[in-house]
Every structure is written in structure tokens, then in C-alpha cells.
């Protein structure tokens, strides 16, 4: 369909913009480029978690398997983007702070999110029966979701932050060069659309494969 090609072109433009159009940030040099991909990845990792929790609540309320399907699909995509965010973040960290990992609050947070996703899937694989699997993982998803606000408060206390906050949140306002912010927010929008498209595809595939195996009981 035409909009897929349009989306493809859009993302190519974002990538080009990231490397050619946007200026570098003070003090970060060319490594700034990763910002346009790393931050959206982290954002999608969190968005996926939220979406998964919402569908988990829906499953518990309505008991329809489709909600469990959406919850676990969102979580799968979230896991992928969490891994991407961790890796891109680590590469960036090596470039600017000369060390791959420091348990800086942001690094710790994304790692904890990774642990939560891993725990979610470990639970799912330890339960055979469909409904039980859906039920138990939905509950865990909700419990984990409730824990997140506390983690946001608590994690910054572990280590002093090395994260380039001044760039993005000095007084809660976005303090970027306008060209940079164009590409940055453009990337955000693109990645978000990508997430929902991937979610849609996963659900369609699952639906089709279920249909194939259901020749009347």
C-alpha cells in the first residue's frame, strides 16, 4: 500500500537528516547522531511496556485471548527495542565517557526494564496452558508496571548521573537547536509509528496462523 512506501521514505529522510542536516550538540561532537536513534528506542521500550500493561488489564477484565496476544506482542517488540536502546546507549557511553557501562541511573533503568521483560517471558515459557499463561503474565505485567514509578524515584540515587541531561531537560524545556529538534521529534514520531505498525503486523500474523489451525474442533 502506498502509505508504506511513504513511511519508508520518511524514515530514510530521518536517517539522512540525522547525519547530514542536524548540527552536532555542544561537547558531544559527531556522536550526537546516535541521539536520534537511541532516545526513540528507549522511548519505544517504555511505550511498549505501557501498552502491554494496558492490554494485560483488559485481558483480566474481559478474558479475551486477543488482549493477551496484544500484550505479549507489545512486550516482544518492547524487548527488542530495549536491547537496541541498551546497545546504542552503551556504544555512545564508550565514545563519550570512555566506558561501556557505569550503572548510571539511565543505564540502570533501561537494564531493569530489560530484566522485567526477560522475567515476563520466562514466566510465559514456564506455563503450558494458554489461559493460565495469559492470566499469570497479565498479573505480573501489572505488578511490574506499578513498580516502575518507584524505580524512577529510586534509581537516580544509586550513582551520580553522567547522562547528558542539560541537553534535553535543563529546566524541563527542550533546549535544542531547531534543526536538531526537527530531526529529533521527527524520529520520535517515526519510531512510534513503526512500533504500532510492527504491533499490528504481529497481531495479524498470529490471527492468521490461529485461523489455519482451527478446522473445527
Amino acid at each position: 500500500m502506498w502509505w508504506k512506501s511513504l513511511f519508508g521514505i520518511y524514515m530514510v529522510l530521518i536517517i539522512l537528516g540525522a547525519f547530514l542536516y542536524a548540527p552536532v550538540a555542544k561537547g558531544l561532537g559527531e556522536t550526537t547522531r546516535i541521539l536520534f536513534f537511541h532516545v526513540p528506542c528507549a522511548w519505544i521500550a517504555t511505550l511498549a511496556f505501557l501498552v502491554s500493561a494496558v492490554y494485560s488489564i483488559l485481558y483480566l477484565r474481559k478474558q479475551k485471548m486477543i488482549h493477551d496476544l496484544k500484550a505479549s506482542s507489545a512486550a516482544q517488540i518492547g524487548l527488542v527495542f530495549t536491547i537496541l536502546a541498551t546497545i546504542t546507549g552503551s556504544i555512545w557511553a564508550k565514545q563519550i565517557w570512555h566506558s561501556y557501562w557505569n550503572w548510571d541511573p539511565r543505564e540502570s533503568s533501561i537494564f531493569i526494564l530489560l530484566l522485567i521483560y526477560a522475567a515476563y517471558f520466562a514466566l510465559r515459557s514456564a506455563v503450558d496452558e494458554q489461559n493460565q499463561k495469559a492470566r499469570l503474565s497479565a498479573v505480573y505485567s501489572i505488578i511490574a508496571f506499578v513498580t516502575v514509578p518507584f524505580l524512577i524515584f529510586v534509581v537516580p540515587r544509586i550513582v551520580e548521573s553522567l547522562h547528558p541531561d542539560p541537553l534535553i531537560n535543563p529546566r524541563g524545556k527542550v533546549d535544542m537547536d531547531s534543526r536538531m529538534s526537527t530531526v529529533f521529534f521527527g524520529s520520535f514520531v517515526g519510531f512510534t509509528a513503526l512500533f504500532f505498525w510492527m504491533l499490528y503486523l504481529k497481531i495479524q500474523i498470529a490471527r492468521l496462523s490461529q485461523f489455519k489451525f482451527k478446522p473445527g474442533d
Binding site: 503450558d128 496452558e129 494458554q130 489461559n131 489451525f213 482451527k214 474442533d217
Partner: protein
């Protein structure tokens, strides 16, 4: 006057259907026999009626004098006997029954416990640990457990499994009394036993 209404009860495990569209209605003073071969789903149906399991589709509703009973309260009207029911092995029979009696809100009710145990032929065994009970004694003890709170609805899966003639006779007496004024549901392979039920449901094929 109690009533159970099951409509469209279907159960599937991972897309495989155990049974579909089961309907029945039963009131106090009536009895139902659930028949079917081993593995046909009799036990699954019993578990759904007793509330231990939810149906994939359909519902089982309970009524007292035509008023619906809230699902959370149904358990206080049901007594269940079945092979998969276990009691606490590291407690004595008396400790087990006292616990269950208390948790049902009946207090320690020692006299009723002793009376029921005597009825089931277990007099003198109250202080034995359940882990030391033979399978026949355990089956008898399960009846004590099920009847403690004088349930309006008695569900029995394989009524005389592990029982000798004497035990079976006691059980048949109990079942007869139950179906006189209350609801009795029996699940069994045994054609003789299935005649206990005025109504019949056959599960599986």
C-alpha cells in the same frame, strides 16, 4: 430451595475441546448422574460445577429460592468428594477437620466432627496423621470433609473408589439421604451407580 442452572458449558484446553454446550437444571430433591469413560471430561465438568475451574464458554449459575447466589459465596453451599481432593498429610484427621470447620465459619465443632467420623467408620482414628491413612480410610475421611457443613449441593466424583463393601454401603446411604431434600451430583463410570441420578448427562464419546 436451591437450584443449579448450567447453560452452554464448554471447555477447551489449548484449543482442544473436552466437551461442548452442556445444559442442565437441577433443584433440591433431585439428583444428576454424569457418565462417561475415563478421560471423557467427567472430572472436568465436576470441577467446573464446583467452581474450581471456569468454563471456556457458558455458565453455571446457582440460585437460592430463585435469587442468584454471588459466585464468591457459592463455595459455602458445596461439598465435594473426589480422587484429586487432598487433605493435609502432616496434620491429624481431627486437626484437618477442625481447620476446615473453622475456616468455613462453623467454629471448631468437635462434636459434629466426631459424630461424622463415627458414621464413616473412622471412630478412633481421629488423632492419626492423614499421611498414615489407607486409601480406603482417606476416601471415608473425604466424606466427613464434604459433609461437615451440611452442604446443599453434594458433588461426588467416583463415589466408592477405594472403598470396601461396608464403606460403599455407608456412602450409598449418604447419597440417598442427600438426594431426598438436597442436590446430589454423581460422576461415575459404574452403570449401577449412575442409576442414583434421576437425570443423566453423558460426557464425551
Amino acid at each position: 430451595m436451591f437450584k443449579i442452572k448450567a447453560s452452554g458449558v464448554t471447555k477447551k484446553f489449548n484449543e482442544r475441546s473436552v466437551f461442548k454446550n452442556i445444559h442442565f437444571e437441577i433443584s433440591s430433591g433431585q439428583s444428576l448422574a454424569i457418565t462417561g469413560h475415563n478421560g471423557s471430561g467427567k472430572t472436568t465438568l465436576v470441577r467446573i460445577i464446583s467452581g474450581l475451574m471456569s468454563p471456556s464458554e457458558g455458565s453455571v449459575k446457582f440460585y437460592k429460592n430463585d435469587n442468584a447466589i454471588e459466585p464468591e459465596n457459592v463455595h459455602s453451599f458445596i461439598g465435594l468428594v473426589g480422587p484429586y481432593l487432598q487433605l493435609y498429610h502432616n496434620l491429624t484427621a481431627l486437626e484437618n477437620l477442625t481447620f476446615f470447620s473453622k475456616i468455613r465459619g462453623l467454629g471448631a465443632n468437635r462434636s459434629r466432627i466426631l459424630e461424622l467420623m463415627a458414621l464413616m467408620g473412622l471412630k478412633g482414628r481421629e488423632l492419626d496423621y492423614v499421611k498414615n491413612y489407607s486409601s480406603g480410610m482417606l476416601q471415608r475421611l473425604k466424606y466427613v470433609f464434604a459433609l461437615l457443613h451440611e452442604p446443599e449441593i453434594l458433588l461426588v466424583d467416583e463415589p466408592t473408589s477405594n472403598l470396601d463393601e461396608a464403606g460403599s454401603a455407608i456412602v450409598y446411604n449418604i447419597l440417598k439421604r442427600q438426594k431426598e431434600s438436597k442436590i446430589l451430583i454423581v460422576a461415575t463410570n459404574n452403570p449401577e451407580e449412575s442409576r442414583i441420578g434421576q437425570k443423566r448427562i453423558h460426557v464425551g464419546d
